[in-house]
């Protein structure tokens, strides 16, 4: 029992992301309203972004902006600077997420204009008819 608690405390960050991801996943597959599905997708995306950023953390590390002169002299210890690579990847992922949300909202508006509703089952009924 104590071992399990220790395991959880040492890796509590993954628990946060998994729970956030579960909230988003449930909203994506369990809700009928399309806007709620979109919100679920955004929550899912936030969980993944947090996960990636947390892989770059080093205990006691500083932000990845270094002193120029010590950088030119080559005296930087990589263990004291956070990993810049996940930050870069997530920077692009955030902007892509914004554009995905924009396109999704546009498509939802178009669906509302065509069918007059955003509930999934009502739309499916109108499509089948």
């Amino acid at each position: 029992m104590e071992q399990i608690v220790q395991e959880i405390v040492a890796k509590y960050n993954y628990w946060v992301y998994v729970i956030l991801m579960m909230i988003g996943f449930y909203a994506m597959i369990g809700k009928r309203n399309l806007v709620k599905k979109l919100l679920g997708m955004n929550i899912f995306q936030t969980a993944i972004i947090l996960f990636f950023v947390s892989t770059g953390v080093k205990k006691g590390g500083r932000i990845p902006i270094v002193d120029k002169y010590s950088g030119l002299a080559g005296t930087i210890d990589p263990n004291t600077i956070d990993n810049p690579l996940p930050h870069v990847l997530m920077l692009t992922a955030i902007v892509v997420g914004v554009s995905v949300t924009g396109v999704a909202l546009a498509v939802l508006q178009r669906i509302y204009r065509e069918y007059g509703t955003l509930e999934e089952n009502e739309i499916l009924e109108k499509v089948r008819r």
Binding site: Y12, I65, N83
Partner: protein
Amino acid sequence: MKTLALLATLCTGALLLYGTKDFPAWGDPQSPANSYLSPKYIEHAVQETHVPNLVTAVLGDYRGYDTMFETVVIYCAGMAVVSVLRRNRSQ
């Protein structure tokens, strides 16, 4: 339907939590993500590009291809929104 969704969600969550057993602990400097490529960026980026902000250096120079296609993606998103939504004032 809702119970099925809840069940699927809980199964996925349990599988992922089981998977975290093999993940490195939080803030470990020797974890796989921190040990192969990124120390080279941290050590050599300032000498090679004269940019103290390592994120900008990696974003603009080492991974410029990635950033370029990312710009193309948001450009395409703008075009998609215009082509889906835009209507003329006369209609």
